[in-house]
Symmetry: D2
Subunit: 482 residues, 4 copies
């Protein structure tokens, strides 16, 4: 079997023995917990759509290891066409879930680890790539969701890993044994961690010699001994506990992040892909970040499509769709959203083959893509709030709507154009609220800002890749300076 | 007595007999309801600060009716200095509450109704102004909080009030009796309605002849027979029910909006200030909106001060305060915030006396002020999210922090610079979350957009006031076109 | 011969008998006129670079007609790879000239006319495509520069062509003869017209039935009987007449536009490619505009590279290169410039085959590309002016620098860092002035705005292509609206 | 006499014996030189308007020294009302000239020197203030135009004045004599220098002890022995030499900047207002810059009014005035322009009395004002170029229009709406060109950027004045951090 169905994916999660804390309690069954479930549904969509022949071309690929059909999330990009299809798949999933579907981190991690271990082995004579391919083979074979885990808590941002007051602020090797290593620390902001079968841990910054113990990359089952999770709160998260279906905005789908803690976890050597080779930590970070910055040119665009559609519906329901300023704002939203898409496509189209055969995106354009993602979705959201109108944040609750007496008043006074049921108007406004202020805003706004690296991280990369010296020479030539 | 203490204000609210629905239930004691209470605290601050000699100059004024000291919220502006002090008072309250303190709508309403009724009486020989002054005298004497109620539900935005499928989509007179009128309809988005003693209802648009029944302005006790309220949901509203103090972000203060419904409410003539004089509805709307657009150049600036301070603290706690890009972002936030303040001050300084003696702001600059408020707070919020870092939306809950075991893990891994307790960092991030995504974001973002009129409403006013013909003449003169 | 050398191109121009008015005089020898010459040099660069093996891959292509190597400017795009190479070629030429190199309009015109005539013939049974291929064959064989002429003077923008006070405000057929047609009218803003061998005239808007006489597409030699040109003034144009080399900023290169007038010009049928088929005018306009909007994602990016390099040099020469705000502004300039490039690449990569075999760009993304071009170069220019410093616009002239006494004072006081000659600093500031205020600003700013259609034209296309209905369905699905 | 007429001003300039180099030649009669004359006309307007009773209130003031009526440009601000009137006067002059009218630098200089010398004398026991008042008395009595000269050439921006390779990169004292001092150096970018009677020199940065010789402030006649000027080139400057009246855009008015060189100039002690008191150089710079940053909230707004009017006319003449996107762009232009005005008014209204009695603007808001001026005029200009259309930069010359044959063709094809003469359309487009690309663009764009200090200078001041610590305390209070 190389492709799980959605149902099989859900069942496979039930078999895991994850230790998850949420709102101060240990969760016995994460899959069915109403706050977690919508995020699981989003990941599940990455399996379900792959079953659909209509989406086969985007959702699946042919494994370069086995020649078998695999889910594209388990695939190493073999061409720029693969890179482009990745972005299109992400846009599709953003459209279908209106949320973060979480599985990208694993895909981006395997592509980065592949080429980095290959080049590290070439240079240092290590044999990490072989181990990695064995892991990849299992991942493809079992169609696993893998959490690519990079971001450490970091403590004081002004200090290196080994200089922190607490040595555990970055994941590090605390013991090397004949059969493996023992690691300690934590990974923060772990997207989709609770919905993953395995985790693939990478260092979070370019390490120096003193930080060699922190230059560690490995894979582990998500429920390995010593690993546990603390679920992150999101804006409006407990609306999912209220049992209704309107006020949540997007009843079926969502995303999540968690803190993942390693309390002296044992990792056998076969699952270790870097251990002390600090000089390759930078390459790994740069490539993972590069792939992930490309990703945002797909997924956030798909979510943006939903938000634009919702705003257009709100205008229809308000009876304002023909106003020229409304039409112009919708055009602007499309323009900004497609600008992000253009960046996602361009960094893919301009990708290049690395020595391992895996294709890497154009790093400059991928960073430009993400930098735009830290800005344009905020403006798209602002315009959506403009079109939606104030009712979005002053509207009565679903329970009021269902109330035998009050409900009639709400039906009457929250009516927009006469032909549209008040409930539809409420639903669409709650969806916009969800995406601009609520649980999905976490993904569409704050994670557009910080996911795959905060804005300044992209600026540093743009500075490095921008080739100012060549540009100076062009100017000198034309100015007649010799 | 012309000044209530904060305590007296709270007690006076308890004596009201308001009918309030919230989350599908009738609330027995709004003052102490944990979801409503913080908004009451914000209004209470307008009384408490007036008791403080340090703030007396801003918070109080001398009544032009009685010569007594009154709360500035009950005062008619007698000079441009008064207009400027209004803005400064609002900035102060924004700083103290980090929220919408709600009482401005009443202040802006009395100032607009005063000059409009005066000029209407002059032109039409009516006697509304005298009635209005009697109401104002009571308001000042009892230091009342008044809800200036303007916005109707509006139904289909493309249709006039009298052309709506349901005639009640705008408040209107359904019967005229010898002793008063009977009104029906609703007012939406009513800021602070549940914390008000009286309501002062105004028409929401410039009416034509066919809509004369909708051109109605009157005052009524907030608990008059036939009036009831449906409380509006806010992002993260139920965190206030959780009993903690960190996750709410701002435990003490908040704002609220509600739908206010009039089921055939009787208004005695002495409280009616317009009834059918549709040709003056536009003036009343324009002036109320003008004053309220000025207000945003004060209150939102004060809230912005808090958000800038919170972002600066987050940078300190992250150990990132010295990074040049962080410093630059804080400068940008200050710059944008002070730009709004400059607009608030300028439209006040350029105010002018109306025939009744009450001062009106400069309408062009007040609209420019509000138009900027529909944009700049969004950018300030974006920059705050940038500086805060992703932890703001992935952080574990207060309950986790209080958990005997998990709490230690959180203390350890959410630590920033070693000298700052993790709890402090969590508190400041939750405050930023509150202001950018949570309950206060409703006030800082969406209401910055739509409060006092949506962006397009300001653009129409800017178009009207911009005097393009004079500008064309300037250009012709210089271009030598005669 | 299928490739002219630069020298051959220049010689071929001399053989033309163009009638050109410039500053009120008939120009006897346009090629050597100091105001025109730099624009000729820019076009010449499209020939010279094609001679250079280093640039052969971008600058040339294999004709699908003859299999011969032709200049890419004469080529019909046979793949998305061709579309991408087009953009890269344009960026290269922008870098080499810092100017508009003018030859793109012809390339974009032949690609649009090819597919449109093919589809028109298929539908209407006409035989325009065959004629067009004959023309194309000659163009490739002789390596011609062709002016793709679209924009009519348009008169009153509110009126259709046939409703104008003067019927000649759009080019139209005034007579049909057995052997050809007679046309009258003018084409405005004709980029590179004086440097072209032939012109390829297209209608400028989608025509209705009443405007059938205006739906005309044809080719003519640039010096055909009845055609003449009036040269357009540019900011700082006469600096080129001063004889110096510093104050012009970019001594060697430039661009130009001209009004091209048709005084009853006879066109034999073999050169007519549309005559009355108004229903295909829209397609032709849309495709030409689409190709040309793509073009700007290449050429303006190349010019932007020069401007960024010049700003970076100015910072070096001022001794300010290490200031963090300077570094950040350069990063922002690169970011914005690469965003344009990403759009140029993306609309190419997402191109598609048309029935004639010629590839068309993705129209939505090409319009998004151009829309960004109407904004981002302005911000890049603003940042360049920021970095350059005020000296750029207050600096003494080249003649002062060359003055025996004053020159020493200028050397002394306009010195920046001690190691850089004052003249170098002056040269680089004049280059920035040239690109932000001078002759090249016409290309980098105003033509970024209006070339290939004014901003609103792109917004209309984005509106048409944005597929709002599909987006609404996505939102309905997630909001649970059925 | 305390008020000169415009004619008297012009005559008084003729009596000066200025040494001015322009385009490599010594100018014998600057007043009548066609490149300089328009800038003289702009300054002359500050005299002519003061003669007009309609503008008396803004243009004149009552001297606090003599009680006589003086031109406001010679006045020390005695109240916030004076500060506001200053801004309004500047807007008026910007409207009347569409240019920089140059006289502000002197007004801003005297106000800064007044309060600084007063406070310096108080602290150090010096007697500069008395000397300064004598100078001021003469200035008011003779209604002089004074060039407030601050900016030095600065050489390497990374080095202090005394550390420069050439010690003359900042103006400094080279000799102290019993009767006065000898100074050497230059002042760059001197606005209106050639149109001034006297110059008032100030240091350009906060000096340290080592730079004490550079902490020098003094007044001198503009034609003092040893002073000479080198005129700065502007974009399109030589169009003023062509003799026409259309292509210059704004025939009558302009501005200029020059390099002012001091070759060992002797200054008697009575005209020395600071000499070595380096600890007061910072205050003087900060206050002059503050006043001058306020100024831009007036003058640039007036110029903006002209540009908006010109764009509106262009739309009328193009037949596009009713298009909703055109109307919206004009609204945006007004909005941005009035935002600048609001900042100018606000920093004035919030001014405060200094110990000398002279009123100082609010420094934070003045810096916010100028920071906005470095941005918003660029967007206003961009929108003007959008509305104007491409013809602005491709239009034939005035000589072509006057040509007996070609002129008819131009009349025909450059016609917009039929009711407007083509020449009018050409005039208005040339005016827009003048303001966005030509001589006036130097003032409206680049000097908006760098005049009164480059953008980063304002950011440093905003950082200092922004009071982050107070803001942090507000946030701590609300977050419950003690």
């Amino acid at each position: 079997m190389a492709l799980k169905t959605g149902v099989q994916y859900e069942e496979s999660l039930r078999k895991l023995n994850l230790k998850v804390y949420l709102l101060g309690e240990l969760v016995s069954n994460p899959v069915d917990h109403p706050m977690i479930r919508p995020s699981m549904n989003s990941v599940k969509m990455t399996y379900s759509l792959a079953e659909d022949p209509q989406h086969e071309d985007l959702m699946t690929a042919t494994s370069h290891l086995t020649g078998q059909k695999v889910n594209r999330f388990c695939h190493l990009h073999q061409s720029t066409e693969d890179l482009i299809k990745k972005v299109k798949m992400q846009r599709l999933l953003g459209q279908k879930t209106g949320s973060c579907f979480q599985r990208c981190v694993g895909m981006d991690a395997i592509n980065a680890v592949d080429s980095t271990t290959f080049e590290m082995d070439e240079k240092l004579g290590t044999e990490y790539h072989k181990r990695f391919l064995a892991f990849l083979n299992m991942m493809q074979e079992q169609d696993l969701t893998v959490d690519g885990a990079m971001t450490d808590p970091k403590g004081d941002r002004g200090l290196a890993p080994s200089k922190q007051a607490d040595p555990d602020m970055y994941v590090h090797v605390v013991e090397k044994k004949p059969d493996g290593i023992v690691v300690r620390g934590a990974k923060a902001h772990q997207t989709g961690a609770i919905n993953s079968h395995w985790i693939l841990v990478m260092p979070t910054i370019s390490m120096q010699k003193d930080d060699a113990d922190y230059a560690v990359c490995f894979a582990a089952p998500a429920d390995a001994e010593g690993i546990f999770y603390i679920y992150g709160r999101q804006s409006c998260d407990t609306r999912k506990l209220e049992g209704g279906e309107i006020d949540v905005g997007n009843k079926q789908f969502g995303g999540h992040e968690a803190l993942m803690v390693f309390e002296d976890v044992f990792i056998p050597w076969e699952n270790v892909f870097m251990c002390g080779e600090h000089e390759f930590s930078g390459m790994l970070v740069e490539r993972f970040a590069g792939y992930h910055r490309q990703s945002y040119g797909g997924c956030k665009v798909g979510v943006g499509d939903v938000l634009i559609g919702a705003a257009a519906l709100a205008a229809d329901y308000n009876g304002a769709a023909k106003a020229s300023h409304i039409k112009d704002k919708l055009i602007e939203m499309v323009h900004l959203n497609e600008t992000l898409y253009a960046c996602g496509i361009a960094c893919s189209s301009e990708g290049r083959r690395t020595p391992s055969g895996t294709y890497l995106i154009n790093l400059l354009l991928a960073n430009v893509c993400k930098q735009n993602v830290t800005r344009l979705p905020y403006e798209i959201a602002r315009l959506a709030e403009d079109i939606a109108g104030g009712l979005m944040v002053t509207m009565a609750s679903e329970r009021d709507l269902k109330h035998p007496e009050v409900g009639k008043v709400i039906e009457k006074y929250f009516q927009g154009v006469a032909s549209v049921p008040t409930e539809h108007r409420m639903r669409i406004l709650r969806l916009i609220e969800n995406m601009t202020l609520g649980t999905a805003a976490v993904g569409y706004r704050t994670e557009s800002m910080h996911g795959a690296g905060s804005p300044q991280a992209q600026r540093i990369m743009i500075s490095r890749q921008g080739n100012l010296e060549q540009k100076k020479n062009l100017a000198k030539e034309l100015a007649g300076i010799r």
